[in-house]
Symmetry: C2
């Protein structure tokens, strides 16, 4: 399921029998907020997927959640999730140009993103697991020199329209991150990251439960689960995104985000 653009505007849509079919809401955020219905309606032959969730109320990110990435960043295994927030303005649709500031150190971070389906507060892990609407792909592109200017990473993570996100949300019967799904990033066709979610320190359900201790999660909110090893900052020498680079963020069973870097 996702949000699609058609000649008549945007609508929530479900993939069914080889094509997109309308769901009765202007976008997937609205349909999740309404709690459905999920039965596919009329076929949409001219539909193109766009940002699946145009304006999540909360996007909460976990850093340092894969052992190999923790090692490459020179840190030790955490006892609690390292969390930071980003606003919906950072999200970028599949296919859109990835506009980044010239003269700075922009880096890739492929991630599995969890989409919340039911309101959660003070939830245990089992309850949190039942509140997952589905999963999508994200790339928490980070402007490293800004991220490292101060003790807080936010300013390197919050550049508008720099987090590729989508292209679709798959439901929990389609993939199982606890059993393991691969999270892959390629730059100009060269594989830079390949991790597996079964090595996550904190699972999607564990993250949702932990976050729900201090804040409510609502349908359409998003939690990014962290990135595996292989970021540019961890390379010798460090390597960052250049104008014209093609970034592909791929999770088998969900799909691929393809975004071309434009330094501005």
């Amino acid at each position: 399921m996702t949000t699609v653009v058609t000649p008549r505007g945007t609508t929530a849509a479900a993939w069914h029998s080889g094509g997109w079919h309308a769901l009765p809401a202007p976008d997937l955020s609205a349909l999740l907020a309404a709690g459905g219905p999920w039965e596919p309606g009329e076929p949409l032959p001219d539909a193109t997927p766009t940002l699946p969730l145009p304006r999540p109320g909360k996007v909460i990110c976990c850093g340092l959640n894969y052992g190999d990435h923790i090692a490459e960043m020179g840190r030790t295994a955490p006892t609690h999730p390292t969390l930071f927030a980003k606003f919906a303005d950072t999200l970028l649709a599949d296919g859109a140009d990835l506009r980044l500031p010239a003269g700075h150190d922009a880096d890739w971070e492929a991630e599995l993103a969890v989409v919340v389906g039911h309101e959660l507060r003070h939830a245990d892990e089992a309850t949190a697991r039942t509140a997952i609407a589905g999963y999508t792909v994200a790339n928490d592109v980070s402007v490293r020199d800004w991220q490292n200017r101060t003790p807080q990473w936010f300013q390197g993570k919050a550049w508008d329209a720099t987090t590729p996100f989508g292209p679709v949300v798959v439901t929990t019967d389609e993939i199982d991150p606890e059993a393991g799904v691969e999270v892959i990033c390629r730059v100009n066709g060269n594989e830079r990251q390949r991790g597996n979610t079964r090595t996550l320190v904190f699972s999607p359900a564990a993250l949702l439960a932990y976050v729900s201790t201090f804040t409510v999660l609502r349908p359409g909110d998003v939690v990014l689960t962290g990135t595996p090893g292989g970021v540019g900052m961890g390379m010798t020498p460090p390597q960052y995104l250049a104008d014209g680079d093609v970034v592909e963020t791929h999770i088998p069973g969900i799909g691929t985000l393809t975004n071309t870097v434009r330094l501005i």
Copy 2:
């Protein structure tokens, strides 16, 4: 100006001739988004101020922005603003109970909050200054043990309904933080913090300009400017909020927030 509750519901309102008068929007966020009009309408004899901005799209906070607080946290003067984000769910109205988790280290942080009046992106400081709609009072109450669990402060700063905010927004002709306004916190009548905004490392306009480098600020968005020295974590021994404590957050020329701690 603020948002008030009346027997007929909530409305934006302006203080005029000794009383609240209606402004034509359901709340101050909506009126800022619409850009006015600002002429006071019918008097509202039964109005009570509530959260002035019920749901800011962005609340961005600056840490480490007063020299005395930087020293008490054992840090050196920053070259760039230390920024983190919080979501609107953290805001709490004047007079409401400040519900905090028992068995944790909750601390006070009185702050001047800046309310954005016009959209800003890639703004210089002079432009940012003209985009300030006004100022209000905030207390960035922080659960220190959660804040310090990981390298990122967010999880200690994002507990729902723990950031007293309001009670009114004063316009830029009423106070001048660059010339200096005092920022005061009292706990059970004992003064714990008294700083002056003229000692801010980064002024309100400087913060808005800096943030606008990476993300758009829209009418009704909020930037918290940091807290002066005197937090409980900096006391010897450290002192934290207890059940029944009355926290008063006061900025002369704006008003006072009074919230009673309830450990839950």
